[in-house]
Structure formats: C-alpha cells, structure tokens
C-alpha cells in the first residue's frame, strides 16, 4: 500500500512541471494539515495542530525570542521571583482580547486556577499548569504565582504551556464555547470554525505586538486533508500554499519544481536507545547492566550516516536532550564516535568476545530501527526485533519489561531539560536507570532558581549519564515543508510553524 502510494505520488509529481499559486494575490495563506484538533480549547487537547493554533490565537506571559533563544516578557512587562516558590508577574497594560475585553491579572489568575481545579474535567494535560499551587491577583495588572515547590523550568512552561484565556468569556462559554469560537489576545483572531473542514484566522488589527510582532499575512486558512498525495496535488494545483511533515521521499521529488520551495528543518524531537538496568527486565537485560556493553552499543551505531541517509538530515546528539533546551550542555560528558573496532574491544572486555543476543523493541521508523540493528550485528550484537504500538510499548517500559528499546521524545516542545533529561532520569515512571546520584542532581537542578548553579548541576548529571552510557542519544528528527515559492517562511525546532513571522515575497 505504501509503495503504491509513493508511486501514486510519482504520478502526481510528474503530472505538472510547475505550479501557480494564488495565495499572495488575495493575501490568504492556505495551509493543509493532516489532523483536526479534537477541540480548539487549547487546554482540552494535546494535538500538535492545537498547539500550533494556540501560538497564533493566544499569547503567553513570556515568549522565547526565536532568533536568540532568550526568554523575554511578552504579555508580562516583568516576571520576577520574589522567593523560590513565588513568581510575581506584572502585566503589560492596554492589551485587549479579540472580543474587546481588557487583559488583567484576573485573566491570568483564572487561567491557572481554572486549569488546576479538579472540577474542570476537560483538562487534557494537567502537568502544563499544576506546578503552580494557586495564582493570586494582587492588583489589576499584578498577579502572583505560588508554586508547589521550587520549579526551575517555570519560564519554559510559562512560554510554551500556559496561554492566557479571557476569564469572563471562558466562564460564560465553558470549554465547548471556547472551542466553537476561540478568543485570545494573539496575532490572529478566529473568524470561522468549520468542524471537520477548516479553521480561518484573520490578522488581529489591535494586536499589541510584543515579542512576536505584528502578523504580516492577512488571512490563514488551515484545511484538514489527511492524505499527503492529495495535499501535494492541491499544492501543485495552486489551491494551497503550505504543507508540512511531508514524507522524505515525496519532499525530495518536489525539490526543484517550478513554483515550489521545499525546506527541511530540525525539530526538538529526538530518537534514543534506552536500556533497563534496574534488574526488573530479568536475565534478558543482564548484559546491558555492564557499562562496557552499553558503551559498545554507543560506538557501534553510525548515527551520522543513518540520520543523513535515511531521514534526510537532523543533528546527531551527544546528550539526552535537544541542544537548544535550557540546561542541555556539558563540558565533561564523553562523546561516542562511530568506532566498530572499539565496540568489539569493549564487548570482549565485558566478557562477550563472541557477541551477544538481545531483544530490541521499537514502535516507529522501522527502517531506522533496522539500520541500527544492522550496525549492531556488525560488532556481534544480534538483536531480535519486537515491534509494538506506542501505548503498549510505553507500558512495558514503565513496568521494566523491556531491556533495550528505540523510542523518540518531543519534550512537549518545552525548551528546558526539565522535560527531557529531568523527565527520564529523575526516578519518574520512565526512568529505567534510577541512578541515585543522577536523580539527586536532577532534583536539585529542577529546584534551583539560580541559573548558573542550575546549569552546573545539569552539567554534572549529563556527564554521569554519558560516562555510563545510560542512554544512547541518537539524532533529532526533521520536518520537510513544501510551499509556494512566494512565501517567506523560516522553520523552527519547536515543531511549530510560526506563521505570524511568515510573509509574502
């Protein structure tokens, strides 16, 4: 079926030598995407399209400057720690929601308290806000966030996970009303919600600007078209201006086509090899408890070649996080180059001169998993592939039944190691290492509000993880984007096309 679809695409691509696009003429960007979010209430869903739309319709208290990576006040005029568990936010005055309501401290306090209220059963991922115990309005433009405990990733969460909702409108309309007619302060306002078909956004003329700046394109129509061949046909026919997450082979066939522009961009999602060394996985995982075996695996996999040739790009990673995440750095962490001879030496040292057999689990990107297996077999590690769906595999990992697996992680687009290294190695349900030293360092790092001290703690944790090869970080994933060549667009690693930054050439 897949091969036939690829051939089908070949026909579509061959059918036209070039494409003519009408988007610029009427200042309307037609963006085709695979999935419709279940609801347009940001907090009631975790769908990627929902996260993307939230960036256009709502604003957050702080914003990451996409060119420097720096956190800057956005809806806020200042964000200050009064003590390790209290953050005071002063709001920018004069910001108005799309329905004309003035943004006040009441809206900020309501957003946190409503999402954390157990009576609000619509919340999809409470972890976005539940690090705040409660939010207190001090005056019309001042609000205090009282944290449950010191939380160093607060800035990253404020930037990515907490868009501010209008209190009065949300109270009156509820989650369903917000989904039917979303209202925010963002650079675009929603003018049409046609369920199952499309959502239409128009530039908000009273937008305050802030870190994001004014949107340049007048109108965005996000249409839901599940099949990539059809998306490409619409793009080639000039009925669409932008598609994303295009499969690599399809993207490569479109490269160089007149009227089209194909781009590749790194994302925060990365792949990793994980070992269960807690003893829960039984005899099957016993060899993996020896550091030399794990280090041998790290040297055996040619990450650069696999990433470049099979997925078309990506950054080879040395640490258990994405490089732009706050705290993703280490001066002392060793790097594992591709060195099959060294891998064999390490295996011999560990007592496996003739190699060993391992069960290897995976759930996506089978061609990448098989390439890894091929490299491992070259040094004598014979793997038996166990292919599962994501949910049962994750359950098994959490139960300690998986000795060795290949999985991926997107950090929920949160630019802080608290949601990568801090999530996997701090004795949470997915921690298959449970090294007390690493756990201690990460817990201290998660609570440390002094940035320099925090970075030092994470540096040490990353050094320990890498030295022991608790994981083999692989590569970041890439997205392929195809668009009308009169569209100026710059991809970013957070898996969010920021269309308020896009413009017509």
């Amino acid at each position: 079926m897949k091969i036939a679809l690829r051939v089908g695409f070949g026909l579509v691509a061959l059918a036209l030598a070039g494409a003519v696009h009408a988007g610029k003429k009427n200042d309307t960007l037609v963006w085709l995407t695979e999935f419709e979010p279940p609801t347009y209430d940001f907090y009631a869903q975790t769908n990627r399209e929902g996260v993307v739309l939230a960036k256009h319709v709502w604003d957050t208290l702080i914003e990451r400057d996409l060119s420097t990576g720096e956190f800057k006040p956005h809806l806020a005029s200042s964000v200050t720690y009064l003590n390790p568990t209290t953050i005071e936010v002063k709001l920018r005055p004069g910001v108005k929601f799309h329905n004309g309501d003035l943004l006040t401290a009441e809206d900020v306090a309501f957003t946190f308290n409503w999402q954390n209220d157990p009576a609000n059963t619509k919340v999809a991922a409470r972890s976005r806000t539940d690090w705040v115990k409660n939010a207190e309005k001090v005056d019309i433009f001042t609000v205090r966030l009282h944290l449950k405990e010191p939380f160093a990733a607060a800035m990253a969460f404020l930037e990515s996970s907490v868009p501010i909702f209008p209190a009065a409108y949300t109270k009156a309309q509820g989650s369903e009303g917000m989904s039917r007619a979303p209202v925010g302060t963002g650079p675009y306002r929603v003018t049409e919600v046609a369920r199952g078909k499309q959502i239409v956004l128009e530039r908000y003329s009273n937008y305050f600007g802030g870190v994001r700046g004014q949107a340049k394109i007048g109108k965005i129509v996000m249409r839901f078209v599940p099949e990539y061949n059809t998306q490409i046909a619409e793009l080639l026919a000039g009925n669409a201006d932008f598609i994303w997450r295009v499969p690599k082979d399809m993207a490569e066939k479109m490269k160089g086509r007149r009227g089209l522009n194909v781009m590749v961009g790194d994302t925060m999602r990365y792949g990793y090899l994980q070992f269960d060394i807690t003893g829960r996985a039984g005899a099957a995982a016993e060899p993996l408890r020896k550091p030399e075996v794990r280090q041998a695996i790290a040297h055996a996999v040619n990450r650069q070649a696999i990433s470049k040739n099979l997925q078309g790009g990506g950054t080879v990673l040395d640490l258990t996080c994405y490089p732009s995440q706050v705290g993703c750095a280490s001066k002392g962490a060793p790097k594992y180059s591709y060195d099959p001879a060294k891998a064999k030496q390490l295996l011999a040292k560990a007592g496996y001169p003739n190699g060993l057999d391992l069960d290897f689990y995976g759930y996506r990107d089978r061609q990448l998993a098989e390439a890894i297996m091929g490299d491992l077999s070259k040094v004598g590690i014979r793997t038996k592939l166990q292919w599962l769906q994501y949910a049962p595999l994750r359950d098994k990992v959490r139960k300690g039944e998986v000795p060795f697996n290949f999985m991926t992680w997107g950090s929920a687009s949160i630019s802080d190691v608290a949601n990568s290294t801090g999530y996997f190695f701090a004795k949470g349900p997915d921690d298959t290492t449970q090294d007390p030293k690493v756990v201690d360092l990460l817990k201290k790092g998660g609570a440390e509000t002094d940035p320099a001290k925090r970075l030092a703690l994470y540096d040490e944790a990353h050094t320990l993880i890498a030295r022991n090869a608790y994981w083999v970080p692989l590569w970041s994933y890439v997205y392929f984007y195809a668009m009308a060549d009169d569209l100026r667009f710059q991809p970013t690693p957070d898996e969010i096309p920021h269309m308020y930054r896009a413009s017509w050439k």
């Binding site: 999809a124 972890s127 989904s179 369920r195 061949n229 059809t230 046909a233 769906q389 949910a391």
Partner: protein, 305 residues
C-alpha cells in the same frame, strides 16, 4: 409476513450484539487505552485520571454491559478524542457518506446494467470482451490509485473538478465515480449472466413468436427478471460503499463516516469505532431485509413462498 419480519428483527439484534461484543473485546486487546489516549506528553497522574474518568479501571465485561445497555437506548457515549457525544459526530458525518454511497450506487448501476445487457446480447463478441475488460479493470484498479489518476487528470491537468473537500456537488463527482466503478464489475457480470439465462428461456421465445417488438421483449420481459439478483447485489454493494468509502473519503478529504472510522482507529477512540461498526452492520442487515422485500415485489414466486 409478520413472522418473517420478526425473524429478521431477531437476526438484526443478534448481529448487533455479536458485532459489538467481538469489536469491544478486540479493541481492548490492543494495549492500555488510557496511555494511548493520554499520548506522549501525558504523565503518570494524567494517565491515571483518564483511566478513572473513562471507567477503564473497571472489569471489561462491566464496561461492555454499561456500553451495550446505553447503546440500546441510542446513547453511544462520548468520544475519547472529541469532546462530544458519539451520536453528534455520526450525525455530522453521515450525510457525506450517504450522499457518496448513493451516487456511487447510481453510477455502478448506470454503467453496470447497460454493459451487462450489451454483453449478453452479443456474447463472445468484441463488444462482450470490451465490456468484460472494463469490468475487470474496475476491480483490478485499487480505489486510491484510480482516485489519484482522476485527480491528476481532472483536478491538475484539466482543472475541471475540485481535488478535495465535500462542499458542492462538483466535489462528489470524482469520488462517486471511483466508488461506483469499483462495484460496476459485479453488477455487470450478474446482469450479463442473468440476461443470458433469461434470453434462453421459453417465455422469451414465446414473446418473440407473438410478434412483440425486440425492445419490449428485452426491457419488459427479459430485463425485469434478469435484474432480480442485481437488486440483492445492489443492496450489498450499497452496504459495501457505506463501509468501504474509508480510502476514498481519505484521498478526497471528505469528512464522512469512513474517514471518521479511520481516524478513530488510529486514535484508539473506541466508542466511535464501536458505534460506526454497529451502524454499518445494521445497515447491512436492513439492506438485506429491504432487498428481500423488493425481490418479493418483483417476483411473485418469492411472494408465494
């Protein structure tokens, strides 16, 4: 007739119970639903909350009983993905699929029956072979392939028809043709064999010997009897179109039941999957029932038992 209807009703209930029970159990064998629904970014506490909220912590049989007793009164529960009752989703999506299936059926009959008649009138000639080739092509071409070819031709090269969506009647032309053409061969072959059989009977010879015109014999006497099995087949084809438009709805981005089922399976939105399965199986049961009644009307021998 009352006994006959009651018997059919009993069969319908049994089919519904069996389909829903088997589907319920199979769907729950595919791993922990709460983890799947929570997705990657859901933490342990989120997953536990989802499990409790959706009642997934109860025994499976209890869950089935609750679902079945509510479904019996028309309440299919709420979608795990969309914040809406399942019935609302079905109501939104059903018209697109029904329209598509109706047009598909019309196209398959409009092409299949005349081709079958033509092939039967000139058996083993070039006409017959061309008709058979067309029929074989219809079944041999995968629907997504034909869909893409038509998109290239009419959507990209000629720009006569829209490529995707379901906004206007123009949007239905390509997908209906693809859907209809796929089931044309069955209609054509059955019409051909039925006509060949009927044309060889004594009463047709008698009709000709009475001096009746060829057209009258053909359409009034022969075709009427030859299409009886086609009616039964058409009802089955209609059921197939309702359930089998998954690929076509996806290729043409039409928000019908088929696309909803496909999306719901990938999202493990089981209340929706179960409701769609039940709905489609009920369509089959009732379409078969309707075809029995129509056959009885067309053929007095069936009425007489």
């Amino acid at each position: 007739m009352l006994k006959y209807t009651l018997h059919k009703l009993l069969v319908a209930v049994l089919v519904a119970v069996t389909v829903s029970f088997v589907a319920f159990m199979l769907l729950r064998l595919s791993g922990d639903l709460a983890t799947a629904i929570g997705g990657e970014s859901a933490r342990g506490e989120d997953i536990e909350r989802i499990r409790t909220q959706l009642g997934l912590d109860r025994p499976v049989l209890t869950q089935y009983w609750d679902w079945a007793s509510r479904a019996a009164s028309g309440d299919f529960g709420r979608s795990y993905y969309y914040p809406e009752p399942v019935w609302t989703l079905l109501e939104e999506r059903l018209p697109v699929t029904l329209r598509l299936a109706c047009w598909g059926l019309v196209i398959s009959l409009v092409i299949g029956v005349p081709l079958g008649v033509l092939a039967a009138l000139r058996p083993n000639t070039l006409i017959d072979r061309v008709a058979m080739t067309l029929a074989v092509l219809g079944q041999a071409l995968p629907t997504f392939w034909l869909g893409l070819l038509l998109i290239i031709l009419f959507g990209l090269l000629l720009r006569w028809l829209p490529i995707s969506g379901a906004d206007t009647w123009m949007h239905y032309i390509l997908p209906s043709f693809v859907l209809g053409y796929y089931s044309t061969p069955a209609v054509m072959r059955l019409t051909r064999s039925g006509m060949l059989e009927v044309l060889a009977t004594d009463y047709i010879r008698t009709a000709y010997s009475k001096g009746l015109p060829h057209r009258t014999v053909l359409f009034k006497h022969a075709l009427r009897n030859a299409v009886i099995p086609v009616v039964a087949l058409a009802s089955v084809q209609f059921g197939l179109m309702l359930s089998g438009s998954v690929v076509i709805e996806t290729v043409f981005a039409m928000q019908g039941i088929g696309q909803l089922a496909w999306e719901s399976i990938s999202r493990q939105d089981f209340p929706v999957v179960q409701a769609v399965l039940l709905l489609v199986s009920m369509f089959y049961v009732w379409l078969t029932f309707a075809s029995d009644l129509i056959n009885a009307w067309l053929d007095p021998r069936i009425r007489a038992g």
